[in-house]
């Protein structure tokens, strides 16, 4: 079954919603696809107030920004398919979708698009220790989803591994849900995330164990998590024997970072590069958020792990650029919009946390200019010299 759309956006998080809104407002027939039960991506899990400036709706909770975006998408006439997984991207802008229905049936559909935006976000990193597969050990994002979206506690006594912003914020949110965070464990000597987040959980009495790691998750008779063993680490992050401590816990939340998920673009041989600051392999893109393949755009965490505000802005650029390429927005207006958005992105990438990402973004744009230049009109054969 073949359906025609002008713009298909894959992923209905902040980047995808923004891209779809821009494209639809410009007049494009836009389809937004997401495999989850609800739109919003990670936004509906962010119950805390956002940082940034007033143009980024700072001081507003992520959930409220999510509701606003979903409403804007509806008002702009974006068609939304939920419970639908994009299973393939094919030459000629064909998108293979396993479309879900209300009664849990699924049908395979091909959507023939003119422009595609990939906004598939990121996936959680894993830290392996003995017993890491024990039920009760999960990603910090999973714990966050359970409390903030499903209103179910993932456990009662939580050990959080990782002190980046995810580890810090989710620890706070688990306490808001009524859980006890018995330890925050961080291998580095410093906290990785914002000091103000750490300050909140410290004054809530959460013990912070820097220079420590988890060495074992111990299961009870039911096969589920019962205890967690932590140990101090040396300068090479190796556990120091004899420093083990056992904590009673029924949940470990691993907040060890995210890595971009843009695997769909591999199917079209889009060019990638490794960016440590952005969390892993990211698709090369230019100032229009266009990949090495003409008409295929990318936005949000799938282009580099950052935050909701940067995802929103990148989504806007992708939507505007897709609409421009369809002839729905003239070049001058599109350029003006992009310039204004890139200024806001620069503002977000300032300070000791943002500078590294700004440097990384500059590098991506330089590499794109050097390796790609002008995006290709057809899928290129795979570049075998590139390590993937």
């Amino acid at each position: 079954m073949m359906i025609r759309k002008e713009v298909v956006v894959v992923g209905a998080g902040p980047a995808g919603l923004s891209a779809a809104i821009e494209a639809a407002r410009a007049g494009a027939d836009t389809l937004l696809v997401d495999l989850n039960l609800k739109p919003g991506g990670q936004l509906f899990k962010q119950i805390h107030k956002f940082f940034g400036s007033s143009s980024h709706r700072s001081g507003t909770r992520g959930i409220d920004i999510g509701k606003l975006l979903v409403r804007e998408a509806q008002e702009a006439g974006v068609e939304l398919w939920l419970k639908s997984t994009v299973v393939g991207l094919f030459p000629g802008y064909k998108v293979g979708i396993q479309r879900g229905g209300d009664d849990e049936t699924k049908e395979l559909v091909t959507v023939h698009a003119k422009k595609i935006v990939i906004a598939t976000g990121a996936s959680e990193n894993v830290v392996r220790f003995k017993g890491w597969t024990t039920p009760g050990v999960m990603g910090a994002g999973a714990a966050q989803t359970m409390v903030n979206v499903n209103h179910v506690k993932p456990g009662q006594r939580i050990v959080m591994l990782g002190s980046g912003n995810v580890g810090l914020i989710v620890s706070y949110q688990l306490m808001q849900a009524g859980c006890e965070v018995v330890a925050l464990v961080e291998a580095a000597p410093n906290i990785g995330g914002y000091a103000v987040h750490a300050a909140k959980i410290c004054r809530a009495g959460v013990p912070l164990y820097t220079k420590h790691t988890i060495v074992e998750a111990v299961a009870g008779e039911d096969g589920c998590l019962r205890q967690v063993v932590i140990a101090q680490v040396d300068e090479t992050f190796q556990p120091i024997p004899g420093t083990e401590q056992t904590l009673e816990a029924d949940c470990v939340a691993i907040g060890a970072g995210l890595k971009p998920s843009a695997e769909l673009l591999r199917l079209l041989n889009c060019r990638f590069m490794f960016s440590g600051a952005f969390g892993g392999y990211i698709p090369l893109h230019n100032e229009k958020m266009e990949t090495s393949l003409s008409g295929i755009y990318v936005a949000g965490d799938s282009t580099g792990v950052e935050e909701a505000n940067t995802a929103l802005e990148e989504g806007r650029i992708a939507g505007v650029s897709a609409a421009e390429q369809l002839g729905l927005i003239d070049g001058a207006r599109a350029d003006a919009r992009r310039t204004e958005i890139w200024e806001r992105l620069k503002a977000l990438r300032q300070g000791p946390f943002g500078e590294r990402r700004q440097t990384a973004e500059d590098e991506i744009l330089r590499e794109y200019a050097a390796q790609v230049g002008v995006p290709a009109e057809e899928v290129m054969p795979e570049v075998l010299t590139e390590a993937i």
Binding site: I63, E104, G136, A142, H151, V152, P154, Q156, A177, G223
Partner: protein, 106 residues
């Protein structure tokens, strides 16, 4: 121990959806219509979703967003259903999956 969150300063925890009954490994379990099956199981203290093929080790919630398949169970006879992104319907029959699950005739 019930793990449902009943109070929250920021979130409205009042349930809008009706309560329905599903069966899990033959036992009746109370759930909210439309919530992810996995959430209903966790709320009722059920943390094991399946067992691995070779070593018969238990698996449960890991990513929560349909990426890792640790939460896959047999739902209404169909195996490998990701319970974290599948909604509860009244009368659903959910079973702990052992191994790969049997292929279901179309």
């Amino acid at each position: 121990m019930c793990l449902r969150m009943e109070h929250h300063v920021v979130l409205d925890t009042a349930h809008q959806a009706p309560t329905v009954e599903i069966t899990v490994d033959g036992r009746p379990v109370s759930a909210y219509e439309g919530e992810p099956i996995l959430a209903a199981l966790l709320a009722n203290g059920i943390r094991v979703n399946r067992y691995t093929v070779k070593r018969h080790e238990p698996r449960g919630l890991f990513c929560g967003i349909g990426q890792c398949t640790d939460c896959a169970m047999i739902v209404d006879g169909i195996p490998n259903v990701r319970t974290c992104i599948t909604s509860v319907r009244a009368g659903m029959v959910v079973e702990t999956q052992d191994g790969l699950g049997k292929k279901v005739a179309p």
